[in-house]
């Protein structure tokens, strides 16, 4: 794992027809850190993490996991690679034919093949409590508010026991108070569970609250990648615009 990168994207390009979304994108994600990728809506942030998890295949480039190319893995290794990720989708993507309990039990039953009903029940209830949704197991996704959906989806993502969590715009569409509580959860996932977090966001204040590293994706490329302090000082026009538009001053940013 050179450079401490658990996942490293190398010279990755992806287009859909004539629409070149990512062009020669290279970025590494340090093990145990929270990395936040910011960028305008429609720049390809989701496409980037979908390439990492393998729902989309790049036109060119490579992705390294612990220094090894994921395209060189055999089927079983690739399955293990995927299972080392928990993915929180932008619209939560809870299974709407199943209640919250079954959603969270899904990775246990279908992936880990656990048969012990009592263990599953204890596990699911623990996770629900952890994300702040105790007693909601019987509800269906349609009965949940936006914030509750994100929490339930986080519980499901944690149930696979991942090493890395991918958050696709976890706070978009939530009010500021709810957003802050989701940010708290991301910090807890990182602190208490020690998971590497890759977060996509266009919420700049939240980014500065939680990020160890910030990357800016703009115009098909990574235009900046560094610590929050470096971000404030960096001479990247698009980054400056992002930051000034969200009223963060240098003094507010700690180490």
């Amino acid at each position: 794992m050179k450079n401490g990168y658990i996942v490293e994207v190398k010279k990755l390009s992806k287009s859909f027809g004539d629409n070149q979304v990512l062009n020669d994108v290279s970025i590494g994600f340090v093990d145990g850190e929270i990395s936040v990728v910011i960028g305008k809506s429609g720049t390809g942030k989701s496409v980037l993490i979908k390439n990492i998890i393998g729902i989309l295949k790049p036109d060119a480039g490579d992705i390294l996991y612990n220094g090894k190319s994921i395209y060189a893995l055999d089927t079983q290794e690739y399955t293990q690679y995927r299972q080392s990720f928990g993915y929180l989708f932008q619209e939560s993507a809870l299974f709407d034919s199943m209640n919250v309990f079954d959603n969270i039990a899904f990775p246990l039953v279908e992936v880990k093949k656990i048969k012990d009903k009592r263990y599953i029940e204890r596990f699911v209830n623990e996770k629900l409590e952890w994300v702040g949704l105790p007693g909601t197991g019987k509800l269906y996704p349609a009965e949940l508010s936006g914030g509750m959906k994100k929490r339930a989806a986080l519980a499901r993502a944690l149930a696979i026991s991942p090493q890395i969590l991918l958050f696709d715009e976890p706070t978009t569409g939530l009010d500021p108070v709810l957003s802050e509580s989701i940010d708290e959860l991301i910090l807890r996932v990182n602190n208490e569970l020690g998971l590497t977090c890759i977060v996509i966001s266009h919420d700049i204040p939240a980014t500065f609250r939680i990020a160890h590293k910030i990357a800016l994706l703009h115009d098909t490329r990574i235009q900046f990648h560094g610590t929050p302090r470096e971000a404030v000082a960096a001479d990247v026009p698009m980054l400056k615009k992002f930051i000034t538009n969200s009223f963060v001053s240098v003094d507010e940013v700690g180490d």
Binding site: Q83, F85, Y87, E91, A93, F95, D96, F106, E110, I160
Partner: protein, 261 residues
């Protein structure tokens, strides 16, 4: 303008080749997963309940109606030759060989095929299929296989029910309505309708069940992005299923007439 027209026509042709290719790959994928564990019995039973049991009232009503209508038409025709006694046999033969599997399939396309396409299409658009894939559970294995197996089981069962109920409809019109002799009605029915008639119809139903479920889930899987897309793929699924039922029915009828009867 004419140039644009030819281009879009060309694209349409290329598009249908692409769809056919994708369908073939999907079909191979379904066949691959059908025989792989884990076999999710509970999901299969849930689908059998949804497709089989819950569709029974619709199938029952339409079968009785068809039996009654058919009996009325036959009564006026057979009446010319004073052979109304054959109404049961004629309805029985057409139902078992042709109408029962056909009506059952068409009604199930409308009721369950469209639901399959819409359910899977919605899961596609809302990234639930992707969520499943990232958790390393194959959506074809988890979602499609139980639906296909349940269809292959349910279509024949409902067709068998349709046979009986169609004849019941003919009985109501013929015996109760027009006063045809009851024992004559049944004697002729048993004399003319062979086990061959029944089982060829049941085989047709199983094939229709397979076709419809694979086609409808395929269009669900290939739903485009955007809000209107689910409706579009549902429509395509229903229309394509109906067309394939016609084609498959013709081919199988031709084969069965040569090989069985």
């Amino acid at each position: 303008m004419s140039n644009g027209g030819t281009r879009s026509f060309k694209q349409m042709i290329l598009g249908s080749f692409e769809t056919a290719g994708n369908f073939f790959l999907f079909l191979v994928n379904v066949l691959k997963w059908i025989f792989r564990p884990p076999y999710r019995m509970r999901r299969l039973l849930a689908e059998v309940e949804k497709i089989g049991a819950n569709s029974f009232p619709v199938i029952a009503l339409s079968s009785i109606a068809i039996g009654m209508i058919f009996a009325l038409q036959l009564a006026s025709l057979l009446g010319l030759f004073r052979t109304e006694i054959l109404i049961g046999a004629a309805v029985g033969m057409t139902m078992t060989r042709e109408l029962a599997p056909f009506i059952t399939a068409i009604m199930l396309v409308a009721r369950d095929g469209s639901a399959m396409a819409a359910e899977i299409g919605t899961m596609k658009v809302t990234e639930q299929l992707d969520a499943m894939t990232t958790m390393t559970v194959d959506p074809v294995h988890f979602l499609v296989v139980p639906k296909v197996l349940a269809s292959v089981i349910s279509f024949p069962l409902l067709t068998a029910a349709s046979n009986v109920l169609g004849v019941f409809g003919a009985y109501v019109v013929g015996v109760l309505g027009l006063g045809i002799d009851k024992s004559g009605f049944f004697d002729q029915l048993y004399w003319f309708v062979d086990p061959d008639d029944v089982y060829t119809g049941i085989i047709k139903a199983a094939v229709f069940g397979f076709l419809v479920s694979v086609i409808c889930t395929f269009f669900g899987f290939h739903t485009q992005r955007g809000a209107k897309a689910v409706g579009e793929s549902t429509t395509k699924a229903v229309v394509t299923s109906a067309l394939f039922i016609f084609v498959a029915d013709y081919v199988m009828t031709d084969l069965m007439l040569k090989l069985v009867f």
